[in-house]
Symmetry: C2
Subunit: 241 residues, 2 copies
């Protein structure tokens, strides 16, 4: 394999993505098991090409793992401690993993570059899990959807990055609704309430919730859902165009 | 003057600060007239030392210009277009300015570094203008407080950075109130309303506003303000400890 081309990337700057998906009433994120260490987990991430914007780099990194384009993606925080990566307990494992993997691709210079200080731009994305076709990137052994309450200890500060992403997702969730890719095309009031309950990890009173959501004036009411019992069937909604 | 020490900084990564102050019912920001070009204005900014966190770099850059420590400071957005700086119409002016200024300090290598692509982390700060002692940094000819509606065209994307900072400041202003350094120690309800009106650029109905602010339960009511007419004097408030 040919050498990892350092020259094409900005040094010291990385992107990590918290990819939220919603399935079976659970809020999940996509995590990566690294090729470069045993039981080493991480957020899907990557570097920024000198020729691409940071937003395009994040979209590319996301596309490489999910095969999806045009996903709702938002920068939420920069992680820039002076000890990031260089004082991480995972750093030595990673160096050893790179060395063992392919010495043509990961030369000493490349390994130094990869394990030097990095300032990480955190992005979160919202996807419909059904539409995702996961595919491993260069650094992934495998990718896996995990409930946000069932995450392994991940490398460096990646668990903290998830918590910050969740805080950012919760902040003004209402105003992000339309950008969401978390719900199917049409959904019931109950389904949108379940989504809110999964994101905020609490229950909402049904009447108050319905009023609050309808007051946002972003939903369009369609026909009733076919259930066989027309009088009790719930209405279907979609986001107004 | 000795050479600008490139080795101490992370390349391609800068910080720009939107320093909001509030005075005479006006929301203002501190801007810098650059040494390196005629009528060239910019946000106060700088670079990140390899030995400091990004938050500490921002605090240092702010301290260097205002002589203030422990200021409310928040990252709000990263500006990372692939053409930032390198395709800026101000880039040639700046190169010429550096060249002319001091060729010992700004060698060709330093000038290339300074005018290469930069990803900029935007921070905003909230300060009490009365407490600020402005002092010029290495890149500033002078610093000036300007009403946010009376800003010159600034270099690169700095005017856009101000707009984004204002959007971030407005988002959840209520929850940022306590962190504020914008108001004096004690203030009247009218003063806090005037601050809100300056930030949001609109008026608020006095009764609704008072109820909304008191409902936040962050204020402590003190004695009445001494005005000579005790019966009409407004109450003073401060943030509850």
């Amino acid at each position: 394999m040919k050498e990892f081309n350092l020259e094409q990337y900005l040094p010291h700057l990385s992107i990590d993505c918290v990819i939220f998906g919603y399935e079976g009433k659970e809020l999940k994120i996509l995590i990566s098991k690294s090729k470069f260490g045993d039981n080493l987990w991480a957020l899907p991430g990557g570097y920024i090409k000198k020729t691409e914007s940071i937003d395009n780099a994040a979209s590319r990194i996301l596309f490489e793992r999910t095969d999806l384009k045009n996903i709702y993606l938002e920068q939420f925080r920069v992680f820039g401690s002076e000890t990031r990566i260089i004082q991480s307990s995972f750093n030595e494992t990673m160096r050893a993993g790179y060395r063992q993997y392919d010495s043509n691709r990961f030369t000493d210079e490349v390994i130094s570059w990869l394990t030097d200080r990095f300032v990480c731009i955190g992005y979160y994305a919202l996807v419909d899990i059904q539409k995702v076709t996961t595919q491993t990137g260069e650094f992934d052994e495998l990718l896996e959807w995990r409930n946000i309450h069932d995450l392994p200890v991940m490398m460096h500060d990646h668990n903290d990055i998830v918590l910050e992403a969740l805080t950012a997702l919760r902040l003004n969730l209402d105003s992000k609704l339309i950008g969401f890719n978390l719900l199917p095309e049409v959904f019931t009031m109950r389904e949108i309430q379940e989504l809110y309950e999964a994101v905020y990890e609490r229950s909402f009173a049904i009447n108050n919730f319905q009023k609050k959501i309808l007051d946002l004036k972003v939903l369009e009411r369609l026909e009733k859902k076919f259930t066989g019992a027309q009088n009790k069937a719930p209405y279907l909604y979609r986001f107004a165009k």
